[in-house]
C-alpha cells in the first residue's frame, strides 16, 4: 500500500522527503515546546504533581484501582448481558416470519439511533422512580442498562452479518439432509458464525469500555474518569497529570483489545478449517444503515 502511491524515492525525492521531515519535525517541536512552556507556566510539570503516581501507592489503591475495577465491572456486565440479547434479536431479524422480523428490526434500529447517554439518563431516572435500587447501586445499574440496550442492538447487527457472511451452501446442505430451520441455525450456522464475528465482538468491547466513562461524567458512577476529581483534590490540583495517567490506562486497555481483535481476524482468515467467512473488526461501524458508534 505504501509503495503504490509513490515511486521508490530517487536522489531528488530523498532530498525533498528529508526537507519535509525537517519541516515537520520543526513544526512539531515548536508546538511541543509551546505546550511544554504553557504547562510549565502553570506549574503542571512540577515533580510534586506527578510524584504521587510513582511513589505513593495510595494514589493507586485508593483512587485508580477501584475506579478501574468499576469501569471493567460495568463493561463486563454490559457485554455478558448484551451478547445473548443481541444474538436473540439478530436471529429474530433473520426470521422468515414478518411478525417476528419487523418488531425486532424496529427495536434494533430504534436503540441504535439514540445516543447511549440518553439511554443511561433514562435508565437512571427510571430506576430512581420505579424501583427501589439503592442510591449507591443505581449508577452502575443505569450505566449497564444503557450500555446493554445500545450494544445489544449493535451486536444484533453483528450476529446477523456474521450469519449472512456464511456461504449459502451451508444452510442448503443442512436443509438437504433434512434439518429444520431451528436445527440449521443452532447446529450449523451459529457455531460457524461465532468464530467469524469474534473480531467484531472484541472491537465492540472497546466501544463499551469507552462508554463507561459517560457514567462517571454524568451519573456519579465512580469509575476511572470519576477518580480524577478526588485524585487532583488530594494531591494538589494536578489535573493534567491525573488525566494523562487515566488516559494512558484507557489507551493501554483498548489498544490491547484492538490489537487482539485484528490478530484474531488475521488468524481466522488464515485458518483452513473454517468456511473462510470472517467479519472484519471494522464491520461494526461499516455494516450499519442508520447508526454507528465507534
Amino acid at each position: 500500500m505504501t509503495s503504490v502511491l509513490f515511486d521508490t524515492p530517487g536522489p531528488r525525492a530523498k532530498r525533498r522527503n528529508l526537507l519535509y521531515t525537517l519541516l515537520f519535525v520543526v513544526v512539531f517541536a515548536a508546538v511541543a515546546w509551546w505546550v511544554f512552556k504553557a504547562l510549565d507556566d502553570k506549574n503542571q510539570l512540577d515533580w510534586v504533581k506527578w510524584k504521587p503516581f510513582f511513589t505513593d501507592s495510595r494514589a493507586w489503591s485508593t483512587y485508580i484501582w477501584p475506579g478501574l475495577e468499576n469501569t471493567l465491572k460495568a463493561a463486563a456486565f454490559a457485554m455478558v448481558i448484551a451478547l445473548p440479547l443481541g444474538a436473540f434479536f439478530g436471529i429474530a431479524r433473520l426470521s422468515d416470519h414478518l411478525s417476528v422480523r419487523l418488531p425486532s428490526s424496529v427495536v434494533i434500529e430504534f436503540f441504535r439511533a439514540i445516543p447511549v447517554l440518553l439511554l443511561m439518563l433514562f435508565a437512571n431516572e427510571a430506576y430512581a422512580k420505579f424501583t427501589n435500587v439503592s442510591t449507591e447501586d443505581r449508577p452502575l445499574y443505569a450505566v449497564v442498562t444503557g450500555l446493554v440496550l445500545y450494544n445489544a442492538s449493535v451486536l444484533a447487527e453483528v450476529v446477523r452479518a456474521g450469519i449472512l457472511a456464511l456461504p449459502k451452501g451451508q444452510s442448503e446442505a443442512a436443509y438437504a439432509i433434512g434439518l429444520r430451520k431451528g436445527q440449521t441455525m443452532r447446529s450449523i450456522l451459529l457455531p460457524q458464525s461465532v468464530t467469524a464475528m469474534l473480531p467484531a465482538i472484541v472491537s465492540q468491547l472497546v466501544v463499551i469500555v469507552k462508554d463507561t466513562a459517560l457514567g462517571g461524567a454524568m451519573l456519579t458512577f465512580s469509575e476511572l474518569l470519576a477518580s480524577v476529581r478526588p485524585l487532583s483534590a488530594a494531591y494538589g490540583a494536578n489535573t493534567i497529570a491525573c488525566f494523562t495517567i487515566v488516559a494512558c490506562i484507557f489507551v493501554a486497555i483498548n489498544f490491547a483489545l484492538t490489537t487482539f481483535a485484528s490478530w484474531l481476524e488475521k488468524r481466522l482468515r488464515r485458518a483452513k478449517k473454517s468456511t473462510g467467512a470472517v467479519l472484519p473488526a471494522a464491520a461494526v461501524a461499516g455494516s450499519q444503515s442508520a447508526g454507528a458508534e465507534f
Binding site: 502511491l5 519535509y20 521531515t21 512539531f28 488516559a247 447508526g291
Partner: protein, 221 residues
C-alpha cells in the same frame, strides 16, 4: 398532554446539537483528510505521527477528551479559545474535543477508501509522471471520497450522537436539557420519548439520504 414542554427551550437545545455537529463535522473532515494524507504519504515521520495520533485518540473515551478540554485546558491552562462568557467557552471547547476525536475516524474511513481505489489508478498516475501530492489530489482522493460517502455518513451519525457528551461540560444541548427535565418533571417516559424522537429525526433522514447519495456517487467497479 405536552404542556410539560412549556418553559423549556426544546428547539433551542436541539439547535445547539445541530450546531455542534455541523462545526465539528467540518473541522474533523479537514483535519481527518490531512491525517489520512500523512498516513499514506512518503515521509516516514508524518506517517508515524498520523498512526500514533489515530491509535491514541481512537482508544481514549470521548468523555475524557471533552472533560479534559474543560478541566484541563480551560480551568487549569486558562485557554478560552477567544470567547469570554462561560457558555461560549464551553461550546468552543466541545467543538475542539469533538473535532480532535472524530477526525481519527474520518482518517480511518478515508484510508479505507483510498484502499478501494484499484492499484492501476495510482500506477498510471505515477507512470505519467505525477508527484505524490498530484497523484493523491487529482487521481486517488476524488475517487476515494466518492466511495467513502457511506462510511463517512456513519461517522457523521455517530458524531451527531456523540455531541450529547458535551453536556458533561455544561453545553446546553439536547441531553443536557433532558437531564434537567427528567429530574424536575414527572413524565419520564414522555420526555424521553420526545428526545429519542428528536435524535431519530436528526439521524435517520441523514443516514437514508447520504447512503443513497453514496450509492449514486460510488464508482462502479
Amino acid at each position: 398532554m405536552f404542556d410539560f414542554l412549556e418553559g423549556y427551550d426544546l428547539l433551542g437545545a436541539f439547535w445547539v446539537t445541530v450546531k455542534l455537529t455541523a462545526l465539528s463535522a467540518v473541522g474533523s473532515l479537514i483535519w481527518g483528510t490531512l491525517l489520512a494524507g500523512m498516513r499514506v504519504g512518503p515521509v516516514p515521520v508524518m506517517r508515524g505521527f498520523g498512526t500514533a495520533y489515530v491509535n491514541i485518540v481512537r482508544n481514549i473515551p470521548l468523555t475524557i477528551i471533552i472533560v479534559f478540554t474543560s478541566l484541563g485546558l480551560n480551568q487549569t491552562m486558562n485557554i478560552t479559545l477567544g470567547a469570554t462568557d462561560f457558555s461560549a467557552i464551553n461550546f468552543r471547547l466541545a467543538v475542539l474535543g469533538l473535532t480532535a476525536y472524530t477526525s481519527a475516524f474520518v482518517c480511518e474511513a478515508l484510508r479505507s477508501g483510498i484502499n478501494t481505489v484499484p492499484l492501476g489508478q495510482a500506477e498510471a498516475a505515477r507512470a505519467i509522471g505525477l508527484s505524490f501530492t498530484q497523484t493523491l489530489r487529482l487521481v486517488i482522493l476524488p475517487q476515494a471520497f466518492r466511495s467513502v460517502v457511506g462510511p463517512l455518513t456513519n461517522v457523521l451519525i455517530a458524531l451527531t450522537k456523540n455531541t450529547t457528551v458535551a453536556s458533561a461540560i455544561g453545553v446546553a444541548e439536547a441531553a443536557y436539557l433532558m437531564k434537567g427535565m427528567i429530574e424536575n418533571e414527572a413524565q419520564l417516559l414522555l420526555i424521553s420519548a420526545v428526545f429519542a424522537f428528536g435524535f431519530i429525526v436528526l439521524t435517520l433522514p441523514t443516514g437514508l439520504i447520504l447512503n443513497w447519495v453514496g450509492k449514486k456517487l460510488a464508482v462502479k467497479r
